[in-house]
């Protein structure tokens, strides 16, 4: 182990702001990216399932196209 104390480690020899500023931003971005990808995937799955269901309903409607005309 290179460090004598936690304070030493956090101070990074007076360069703490720069070192930890790099670490924090890198970590945040590399955590955020996969989360965004997973979210995008979930949204797409929901949209596609809704779309397929709607198409299924459409197809059934086309079989009896005239039944829903306005009652004369």
């Amino acid at each position: 182990m290179h460090w004598n104390s936690l304070a030493d480690f956090l101070a990074m020899g007076d360069h703490g702001l720069y070192v930890w500023g790099s670490v924090v931003v890198t970590a945040l971005l590399m955590i955020a990216e996969p989360i965004l990808v997973v979210r995008g995937r979930r949204k797409l799955l929901l949209r596609l399932m809704r779309q397929y269901r709607a198409e299924g309903v459409d197809r059934r409607d086309h079989r009896q196209p005239t039944t829903r005309r306005s009652p004369a």
């Binding site: 290179h2 720069y18 070192v19 931003v25 990216e33 995937r41 779309q51």
Partner: protein, 249 residues
Amino acid sequence: MSHRLINWFRYASPQTFYPLAGKMIPWFWMLAAIFGLTGLSIGFLLAPTDAQQGEGYRIIFLHVPASWMSMFIYLVMSFWAAMGLAFNTRLSGMMASALAPTGALFAFISLWTGALWGKPMWGTWWVWDARLTSELILLFLYIGFIALQAAIDDPRRADKAGAILALVGVVNIPIIYFSVKWWNTLHQGASVSLTKSPSMATTMLWGMLLCALACWMYSIAVALMRARTIMLERERHTDWVRTLLAAKE
């Protein structure tokens, strides 16, 4: 003499690639975590203080792997773009689109950590020197690629336009890599290169290489995840996607 050839083009079809990618993703995540934790432990806990830069040099464990990745992802992206133009395979364009955001992310991390490293060591966040400027151009190329593809509705045309942009931009990669040799830059020369033995302590070198490996695994995992989403989106009118989603319901 009856050994059969593996038909590689079989894997170029999204339908066969989708489940394969799904099986590979957890393994790449696991490797990314193992390499990342080991690399960062070596870099931040074990590696000695740098003689010139004190402790501030530890930014190297993020900066160098991110910079390598930003350049390498661009090369891979251009490779897929070229394959798409040459063979018109569906998967190629999807892979190129899946890689671009991750490449942009690493280009940004490279610039960000570089600025935070430059301030204490050079006294400035930014200079318009060849290395920094060409890396900034790389970030703009990624953003341009993403924006161009987003602006075109037809995915096949978006792929073609993106591919041409990507291939023109490839010229920037050797410029970034050799900029510290070709011009007199504020940025230091390469600490690790293909031709010389590295000019850094072994512990530091190992920490850095492990972090770089972690970035590789991370990039593959994220890009495969994104590629799978793009596949579903683009192939939504096909039977295999319908069957797949019907099974999920």
